[in-house]
């Protein structure tokens, strides 16, 4: 119970952020009430990217040490990351329907997240096609690293498809934050909350996998 204090705190924190997102922040010009998706959509996309990097890092560790524990971290991170990728895609798509009048129109941001979905799908397809768990870990790690190596090129190549209409709260050429201070507070708070939430889910997921591993060893 004592060690779980931060989980309670996170619960309160997230509640405050949700309330803040709907009651405290103003709406942005031209976006109306749809502004509020910002506090959930962008953190989801952030966690989706973060988990992909974590998965690649643990894949490198696995190839160095050949210890199945690292594979568990890599695979768990990818699974949770996939969930957040879907969340970011769906929230973004609903928002796009409202603002751009279509659910999908290959905006660079949409394309990037779609490629991320494809990479995750391929990663899981590969894992399910291999029986022996060390072999599965090895091949999945190699794939994950190669996908990771491809990402910088995607970042360069995808924006060339179309000009983006995507609003840029943080990442823009002028490197300026074009946000109302109140919006920024909730946005950063939510970003932090989502990151801790991700960490928590990842811990639970890996804990389950470690227990499974222990059980199978005992049998």
């Amino acid at each position: 119970m004592k060690r779980d204090w931060w989980k309670w705190l996170l619960g309160i924190w997230m509640t405050v952020m949700i309330l803040g997102a709907f009651l405290y922040t103003p709406v942005a010009k031209g976006l109306g009430q749809t502004t509020r998706v910002l506090y959930f959509h962008v953190p989801s996309a952030w966690v989706a990217t973060l988990s992909f990097f974590i998965s690649a890092l643990y894949s490198i560790r696995y190839l160095q040490k050949q210890n199945i524990v690292y594979d568990i971290w890599a695979a768990s991170s990818a699974q949770i990351g996939f969930m957040f990728t879907v969340l970011a895609t769906v929230t973004g798509s609903i928002w796009a329907k409202e603002i751009w009048q279509s659910y999908w129109n290959w905006d660079p941001r949409e394309t990037s997240i779609f490629v991320l979905l494809l990479i995750y799908a391929a990663y899981f397809a590969l894992r399910s096609a291999i029986e022996e768990k060390n072999q599965k870990a090895r091949l999945a790690a190699v794939y994950s690293i190669l996908a990771f190596v491809t990402v910088p090129f995607l970042v360069f190549v995808i924006p060339r498809i179309y000009d983006s209409l995507h609003p840029d709260p943080l990442i823009n050429p002028e490197r300026k934050i074009k946000m109302d201070p109140r919006m920024l507070q909730v946005f950063l708070g939510s970003l932090f909350g989502f990151t801790v939430l991700f960490y928590w889910i990842l811990r639970i997921k890996t804990e389950i996998e470690f227990l499974k591993l222990k059980l199978s060893k005992r049998m």
Binding site: I130, L139, F153
Partner: protein
């Protein structure tokens, strides 16, 4: 003790010599059985005729023409490039190979084979493409450069993915699923560059695409060489 010195020694030169021997062996085998080349060329010709047949007398715009070309090349590659490793696995010769040659030499030999395979495909398919889709290529130099660089890029991804897929249980579909996300930078720049070249662009006009194709291929190839040992050695 008559232990041959070469038995324990490896350097860059012997590595290159050995990859050449592997390539020759695969070329020889392919020449005799023609499994991969038949599959890949037939696939390309059929999809090309299917496109030409379904558009009838219509004239496609350059952007669509160049996209068509790369879609055809990509899927033909997907039908034939995995063969190089799957064949060794299916005929149970991969363990024999593991015991006689260093992994890097094997990867390089197989990579050269796949590059040659894609080039041979294009020698047949590109004239057909120009004729059937009535493509008027105005910047031939840039066009060929993009084709060559794009093919080497696709062959590099195809070879390392083939090595992975050869050890999995569902090979056919998995190969395309794994290769596609990684091929997007290649496809995107190649389509863009081909389009520019068809419209009369020179090398300077497609410089950005050429740079990307080149650097991406170098990066993928280097990481493949580093990672191949982890795939190959069980």
């Amino acid at each position: 003790m008559n232990l041959r010195k070469s038995a324990l020694e490896e350097n860059v030169w012997t590595l290159l010599v050995k990859s050449n021997i592997i390539f020759q062996k695969d070329f020889h085998l392919e020449f005799r059985t023609r499994y991969a080349i038949n599959a890949i060329i037939l696939f390309a010709v059929i999809s090309l005729t299917a496109v030409s047949f379904s558009i009838g007398p219509m004239q496609l715009d350059p952007p669509i023409q160049s996209a068509m070309l790369w879609i055809i090349i990509f899927f033909s590659a997907m039908s034939g490039l995995a063969h190089i490793f799957v064949r060794e696995e299916e005929q149970q010769t991969s363990d024999t190979l593991r015991l006689v040659a260093p992994p890097t030499a094997i990867f390089l030999g197989k990579w050269v084979f796949n590059v040659v395979l894609l080039f041979s495909l294009e020698i047949i398919v590109i004239p057909l493409y120009i004729a059937l889709l009535n493509v008027d290529v105005q910047g031939m130099g840039a066009f060929l450069t993009i084709i060559i660089l794009g093919s080497v890029g696709l062959a590099s991804i195809g070879t390392i993915m083939a090595a992975i897929v050869a050890q999995a249980s569902t090979r056919g579909a998995l190969f395309a699923v794994l290769s596609f996300p990684l091929s997007i930078p290649v496809l995107r720049s190649a389509i863009q560059g081909t389009w520019t070249a068809i419209q009369g662009g020179g090398l300077a006009d497609c410089l950005a695409d050429i740079q990307l194709l080149f650097s991406f291929t170098v990066v993928i190839l280097t990481s493949s060489i580093m990672l191949f040992e982890f795939i190959w050695r069980k």
